[in-house]
């Protein structure tokens, strides 16, 4: 014990020399303690030495000493408001431990995943979920089928060269539709690019989808962006941009606005497993927690970021565990279970709005389709893995089973819906193909709110060039 004290005395002297401020702190604490020794009990020689050691170690170092006396001192210190000032760090009080233990890099058990329906569409015993009316459930299911059909046909249209590009949401129909169904139309949506189902739910027509993909004059975006970059002010759905995760901090700003305006609405923003590696993800969750922004962060963890599996994307237990690191309440749900997604999003919405807080939802799922029409995922994953998820784990089929089990859906309804959806989509494509493109002037407008002089000049020069060399330019764009 004596040897130990000597050593720590040397340490203290060294520290005093080199840490001026802390040295002063030591003095003042010691002085204070001596003045107020009556507050400390019971005082005997070894105890006083222990306290001196504690002082000299600047209270920053874990002190291994006679456990009974020092523990007593610590316990007394912790509960005594004044004496504890030094033991509080910015951020609050911390309890000290003499045991040096690292937090494991991974939890013993992975975070559990909330599920309502089993693979056969039966509610799991004891599970709680938000009940749905027949109309609502059928509407949800119809939208899932329409989304699935739309994806199939548009994908084919790209293959036929009728549109330049397409991105399917195969396997993620439950996330798309069920999350949308749990919101109101006042809730603001900031998508990534695999969430057209949210637009579909809100009433974006098949014709509007087709118009954007063909970039014709019916496109809200005036033909400026690639297919699937939808946007609708009317439906509160911010325009898609290809950049990953950039929507996340924007969602926080938008949510802050809703909070300031005391709106009964939240923001919902979507991203994939890959998107969580971007700095914007970190920025957004941190800002959201600090600002108390009513935003729901939904991660579609579908296992793949183009060809990169999650094992090469992160080492954490998925995304859900990251929430707590930022002070964000989080939940993991089965993304292929429409009822689980619906219930979780609805609950998250209530929390976000009433408590002014962000919520993180990790929806586990599988990207059945390729990343896009520019990708062939059989190059980097086994075909039977894809087929397994397409057939045995299809979220649409699973929800259908539940709807049928309730007596709300039949085979006839099914075939009628599918053929009707198919017809409408094909028709929409045929129409969109023939609609003329936006006029040339739309190349120059909306860069700013007004056309600046440089663009006026460039438009003038361009039109002269077009007159001289019309063959260089596509005839579908009206002058």
């Amino acid at each position: 014990m004596a040897v130990w004290f000597t050593r720590s005395g040397n340490v203290a002297r060294h520290l005093k020399r080199n840490m001026g401020f802390l040295g002063k702190l030591n003095h003042s604490f010691l002085g204070f303690h001596q003045r107020n020794s009556s507050l400390v009990s019971p005082i005997d020689e070894s105890y006083r030495n222990a306290v001196v050691v504690l002082n000299n170690a600047m209270a920053l170092f874990s002190v291994r000493c006679s456990e009974s006396t020092l523990a007593e001192a610590q316990r007394d210190s912790r509960y005594d408001e004044h004496e504890n000032q030094i033991l509080d760090f910015p951020g609050g009080q911390v309890t000290f431990t003499s045991e040096m233990r690292f937090i494991s890099e991974s939890p013993e058990k992975r975070t559990k995943c909330y599920q309502v329906l089993d693979d056969n569409g039966r509610p799991i015993l004891g599970t709680s979920f938000q009940p749905l009316s027949k109309e609502f459930a059928v509407r949800m299911y119809s939208n899932m089928v329409t989304l699935q059909t739309m994806d199939t046909i548009f994908y084919e249209a790209q293959r036929q060269g009728r549109i330049s590009f397409y991105v399917t949401s195969n396997g993620e129909e439950a996330i798309n539709i069920a999350s949308a169904a749990a919101l109101t139309f006042d809730d603001v949506v900031l998508p990534q690019y695999r969430e057209p189902g949210v637009l579909l739910w809100r009433g974006f027509t098949l014709q509007e989808f087709a118009n954007q993909c063909f970039g014709n004059k019916g496109d809200n975006g005036k033909g400026r962006q690639m297919p699937i970059h939808y946007g609708s002010k009317k439906l509160n759905y911010f325009t898609v941009s290809s950049t990953i995760a950039t929507q996340l901090p924007q969602a926080v700003g938008a949510a802050y606005s809703l909070k300031m305006d005391s709106k009964d609405a939240c923001v919902i923003t979507y991203f994939g497993d890959g998107g969580t590696s971007e700095g914007d993800f970190h920025a957004a969750l941190n800002f959201a927690a600090v600002m108390g922004a009513p935003v729901i962060f939904i991660c579609r963890n579908n296992g793949w970021a183009i060809s990169t599996p999650t094992s090469e994307q992160f080492r954490s237990d998925g995304i859900v565990v990251r929430g707590q690191a930022y002070g964000v309440r989080s939940i993991r749900v089965d993304g292929n279970d429409a009822l689980a997604v619906y219930t979780a999003v609805q609950t998250a919405r209530e929390m976000a709005i009433s408590e002014h807080r962000p919520i993180l939802i990790e929806a586990l799922t599988y990207r059945v389709g390729h990343h896009s029409t520019s990708d062939d995922s059989t190059k980097y994953r086994p075909v039977d893995e894809i087929e397994h998820w397409r057939m045995a784990r299809d979220p649409v089929t699973r929800f259908r089973k539940w709807v049928e089990w309730n007596g709300w859906w039949s085979d006839e309804d099914e075939s009628e819906l599918r053929s009707s959806a198919r017809k409408q989509i094909l028709h929409a494509i045929q129409v969109a193909e023939k609609v003329e493109k936006p006029p040339l002037s739309d190349l120059f407008t909306d860069v700013y709110d007004h056309l600046p002089s440089n663009l006026l000049e460039q438009e003038r020069l361009l039109r002269e060039t077009i007159k001289r060399h019309p063959q260089d330019y596509p005839p579908e764009v009206p002058m």
Binding site: N220, K222, R224, S241, P249, G253, D449
Partner: protein, 358 residues
């Protein structure tokens, strides 16, 4: 010419020790309404106060803005407008700008501060790929025109690599953004209010060197100065000089010295770098036949290159000499070597003479 010279002598002290400062030779009538004599950060503070007063949906945020900001531009704002409208953000520029875009997209005026222009780069993606394209890509359904980014830029005498940069050129290359740089307290207040209220995302670079050193009368009322309009500060016939921000006061001194050698200089403050007022510069060069551009940022790829190329295209036959650029060197901004790096008055003067004697 003599009147112009007299005005220059009266107003063009560099203000190293906080002297009376103004580069305006011709005061526009409305700004002659007298106000208190204040420095640049106070003028900025006034503008922010007015912005917050006149629009209940205006917000001011960034690192350390609550206590007043590292340059005191935001002093007293949180006390007056509350912590919901004036607040600190976490230390994350991409978050600050992303958050600002979202706030602006909902119809608010988001006035974000980036503590030093040297730290704006993490937000480059949000500025270039998102803010600049927000209106265009949505077909004008959405816009983030309410976004204004304020950031101190430029040399300060001892700033080194990371407290001295002038990154304006990066942003001048991005259609959809506006870049505005004031030269004085008077100008700063009017231009900042105009930038905040302009329905396009604006990056407002404030010359940090002038925060305390530039002092002039600034009207206390709410006023705006037009964007994308260059101002001829001094009229002359022999050579046109174009600059912005703190560099203008250096150029002004060079003009005074050049006058002694019988060279009459026309000095133009560009004020808005994009979209920039080509017409005013062109009209001046048509008169003088010579152009010199000066900026602190490194010469290669600096905004002077754009001005030079544009004027060469428009005024080639009128030009008596090549366009001169007196700018920073193509190095990171050095500490001990700052006086060598900077485009000084004498470098400019030498270039004026060389151009005139070409």
């Amino acid at each position: 010419m003599a009147t112009c010279l007299k005005r220059l002598r009266r107003f063009a002290s560099i203000g190293r020790k906080g002297q009376e400062y103004s580069t305006t030779c011709d005061e526009p009538p409305k700004l002659q309404k007298s106000g208190k004599t204040v420095n640049l950060f106070t003028a900025i503070n006034q503008a922010l106060r007015i912005a917050l007063e006149t629009d209940p949906r205006a917000y001011v945020f960034g690192e350390d803005v609550s206590f007043g900001g590292v340059f005191r531009c935001t002093t007293g704002l949180v006390e007056q407008f509350g912590r919901n409208r004036v607040f600190n953000t976490p230390l994350c520029e991409q978050g600050i700008v992303g958050f600002g875009i979202g706030l602006a997209a909902m119809g608010n005026r988001a006035i974000a501060e980036i503590q030093f222009a040297d730290y704006i780069y993490p937000a480059f993606d949000q500025l270039v790929n998102e803010a600049a394209k927000f209106r265009y890509r949505s077909g004008n359904q959405f816009n983030c025109g309410g976004l204004t980014i304020r950031s101190p830029y430029g040399a300060v005498g001892h700033g080194g690599h990371y407290h001295s940069q002038s990154p304006e050129a990066f942003f001048c290359h991005v259609p959809g953004l506006k870049v505005v740089i004031p030269r004085s307290p008077n100008q700063a207040k009017g231009l900042l209010l105009a930038s905040i209220r302009d329905p396009n995302p604006v990056i407002f670079f404030e010359p940090k060197w002038l925060y305390r050193l530039a002092v002039e009368e600034v009207p206390e009322h709410d006023y705006m100065l037009p964007l994308s309009q260059a101002e001829v500060i001094c009229h002359g016939n022999d050579i046109t000089l174009v600059g912005w921000g703190a560099q203008l006061s250096i150029m002004e001194q060079a003009c005074i010295d050049a006058e002694k050698d019988g060279i009459s200089c026309e000095l133009i403050d560009l004020k808005t770098l994009i979209p920039w007022d080509k017409e005013t510069v062109e009209a001046s060069v048509r008169k003088t036949g010579r152009l010199l551009v000066s900026h602190e940022a490194p010469v290669t790829g600096g905004f002077g290159a754009e001005i030079s190329a544009s004027i060469a295209e428009r005024c080639f036959l009128r030009l008596e000499a090549p366009v001169a650029r007196v700018c920073g060197l193509d190095t990171p901004f050095p500490l001990v070597f700052e006086p060598f790096f900077m485009p000084t008055k004498n470098k400019i003067l030498d270039a004026i003479k060389a151009t005139v004697n070409y």
